[in-house]
């Protein structure tokens, strides 16, 4: 019974047109959000979308395959640097690199947004496959410290190779409009809004969307791609989890020795999960670079890994919908708590301002949630596995 619930209740076993419908729905939501939300909320929403990509892919190696890998920060950093270097043109690179002249290869890298994101993912995945050979020689908590070390080494490499990364100064003014697809969507919307043959209602709708999406200076490109890639990642991860590979991954998580005895090539399965998650983390890192428009090695420290780990454990390790829920809670909740860093006024009394208070409360709330929902909010279940009659919080 339980097995049936866990493994055969596959929501992604729909037709191709079903997936297309999900994407169209996502695009509609994106454009609606663009016109309804204010600039700040839009930034939070965009942040959530990027962290959804990172969290669901990290969940694949950490939750589904059960390998405590602590180096997503390294892959995110690789993705961010590759994308940033490919989007910047050679003139701005020459102007930006202060510690050392850019490497000739760095100067020759140039492309549009989508190929850059793809390259970010591929480079991260390639490096993850190289890392898999030493890393998966050890198991359990040893794996945690080895991967933590690799994540840290990637950060140190970024600091110490100024001809590739501009060292501790980092890269800035990363262009965010370098995308033909988005530009043609923009041109298309503009042409419909101004075409004389269209019915008035469609013209009005299009010009409403156009003015709200492109004309108020908001960065629709990165928002659009974050949404599309987040949707694609969730669908891809769910497809993998419910496939033959996904079952093998869960077998590796639950009992590695038994999985070996059943004839599963655990190294292959672990490497597959590792490189898939590295690919998506690289893409997510690229989106992050474009979204922030400025990157430096400091933002890719352990803190990023720990934040992702908190997200997926809070949501329920091994549950993809849990990872999405965790992202919304941690990123959204973290933003909501921002009022604590401002000067505090309760009932007319000024308590002064305490910078850092936000994280104090954040960690206390995190502790409370972990103490009362020990397996995270969703456990290993997905949203559609939940039985509403059962207790929500276990423990």
């Amino acid at each position: 019974m339980k097995v049936k619930n866990l493994y055969h209740n596959n929501p992604t076993a729909t037709t191709f047109s079903g997936h297309i419908l999900v994407y169209i729905l996502m695009i509609v939501v994106l454009f609606l959000a663009q016109s309804v939300l204010d600039d700040y909320l839009l930034r939070v929403f965009n942040n959530i979308l990027i962290f959804v990509i990172l969290a669901v892919s990290y969940n694949l190696i950490n939750g589904v395959t059960g390998q405590l890998s602590l180096e997503p920060n390294g892959f995110v950093a690789i993705g961010a640097y590759v994308t940033a270097l490919m989007l910047l043109d050679s003139d701005s690179k020459l102007g930006m690199f202060q510690l050392s002249d850019p490497h000739p290869f760095v100067l020759s890298m140039y492309s549009e947004l989508l190929p850059a994101l793809l390259c970010s993912g591929l480079v991260a995945a390639f490096i993850s496959i190289l890392l898999a050979f030493p890393v998966f020689r050890v198991r359990g908590d040893y794996l945690a410290i080895v991967t933590l070390g690799f994540g840290f080494i990637i950060k140190i490499l970024a600091i110490n190779n100024p001809e590739w990364t501009n060292g501790a100064i980092g890269l800035n003014e990363i262009p965010n409009n370098n995308d033909t697809i988005m530009n043609s969507i923009q041109a298309f919307m503009y042409s419909i809004a101004n075409s004389p043959n269209m019915p008035e209602s469609i013209k009005a709708f299009m010009s409403y969307l156009y003015t709200h999406s492109f004309e108020n200076g908001a960065n629709i490109t990165i928002f659009f791609w974050s949404g599309i890639i987040a949707t694609a990642s969730v669908i891809l991860i769910l497809q993998i989890v419910y496939s033959k590979f996904g079952r093998a991954m869960k077998a590796v998580r639950d009992d590695e020795d038994a999985a070996i005895a059943m004839g599963i090539n655990t190294f292959k399965i672990k490497t597959f999960a590792f490189s898939t998650s590295a690919f998506l983390e690289g893409v997510g890192g690229g989106l992050m670079a474009v979204w922030l428009t400025t990157i430096d090695p400091k933002i890719f420290g352990f803190e990023l890994t720990f934040q992702l780990l908190i997200i997926i454990v809070l949501g329920g390790l091994g549950s993809t919908t849990g990872a999405i829920l965790g992202t919304i809670l941690v990123i959204g909740g973290g933003e909501w708590l921002r009022f604590l860093d401002q000067p505090l006024v309760f009932f007319g009394t000024d308590f002064g301002s305490y910078p850092g208070l936000r994280m104090v409360f954040f960690s206390l709330i995190l502790l409370c949630i972990m103490l009362f929902a020990r397996e995270g909010i969703m456990g290993k279940k997905e949203l559609w596995d939940l039985n509403p009659k059962k207790k929500f919080f276990k423990g």
């Binding site: 850092g356 208070l357 103490l371 020990r374």
Partner: protein, 299 residues
């Protein structure tokens, strides 16, 4: 580089390694008993340094008294953390405890950030500790010799405690099999509280030593030292107290020597611990003094 400088750097390396070793002992003992990477441990070290700073500057205590004050509060803090964040989760998945450990770590870092501010503070230790002495042409400060000496003394005391007392035996039994020991009539929670008390006191001492030898302290100082100390514990073979000390000495020594011999690798200083650890684990996946047999039952 001449021979005398080399010897001097060796002693500096051993001194730094002793600080890592003191913190690594706490990691290894907690890991041995609970199979928990106690990320909050490094922050206890930071708390030790800050409480001692607070006692000297605000309470006006002399250095030794402030150190004792800080260590006692560290012990209390360690036990409270265990009771609040780890005790309720003994039967939960291990990852939940890891997250509460990260939560406690964030909490300590930020509460000290709120109270003391994030700017580095100068730790004014007694002048005696930073005075130079000359031994056959090698010029060293007092503290670089005191740290390894105290570390070895504490290690001997700890090993005596672990191998010659009933509580020590109970701790070793807990590390071997935490489920059976409860059936033998031993209060597991008391034993684990003792482990946390020992680990926290050593971390507090390590924090004060670190603050004396590198005299600026800030709320995030524990993060990197803690990770290196954990790397040291794994390098030595996690679960083994002697291994933790050995790993600490090796890492501190390599870090100082590598930078002394190849000055242009200075930027990679912080990565040596992990590079070294990864190399050792490739050839010996349980660390230098780790036990293959125990690993089988662990994972």
């Amino acid at each position: 580089m001449d021979f005398l400088t080399l010897i001097q750097q060796c002693i500096n390396g051993i001194s730094l390694g002793s600080t890592y070793a003191l913190i690594a002992i706490g990691y290894t003992m907690v890991y041995g008993c609970l199979r928990l990477i106690n990320f909050a441990h490094a922050d206890i070290m930071m708390v030790g340094a800050f409480l001692s700073f607070f006692a000297i500057n605000s309470l006006g205590l002399p250095f030794i008294a402030s150190a004792i004050f800080a260590i006692l509060l560290c012990i209390l803090l360690g036990i409270i953390i265990d009771k609040i964040a780890y005790l309720p989760l003994r039967s939960a998945p291990r990852i939940s405890m890891l997250i509460t450990a990260i939560g406690i770590s964030f909490f300590l870092e930020n509460i000290f950030n709120v109270f003391f501010g994030s700017t580095p503070k100068f730790f004014n230790a007694p002048e005696f500790l930073s005075q130079n002495i000359n031994i056959v042409g090698i010029s060293l400060t007092h503290i670089t010799i005191i740290i390894p000496a105290v570390t070895i003394l504490l290690l001997i005391m700890l090993l005596q405690f672990l191998y010659n007392t009933k509580q020590g035996m109970a701790i070793r039994a807990t590390a071997f099999d935490i489920h059976t020991i409860g059936l033998m009539g031993i209060n597991v929670n008391t034993i684990i509280a003792i482990v946390f008390a020992i680990g926290s006191s050593l971390a507090g001492i390590g924090g004060i030593f670190y603050a004396v030898s590198y005299p600026t302290i800030d709320p995030l100082m524990g993060v990197l030292i803690g990770l290196k100390a954990f790397a040291a514990a794994v390098l030595g073979g996690i679960g083994s107290v002697g291994g933790a000390v050995l790993g600490g000495f090796i890492l501190g020594f390599t870090e100082v020597m590598a930078v002394a011999i190849f000055p242009n690798l200075g930027g990679y200083k912080d990565a040596f611990a992990f590079l070294f650890l990864i190399l050792v684990l490739l050839f010996r996946p349980v660390g230098i003094m780790g036990d293959w047999k125990l690993e089988k039952s662990r994972f």
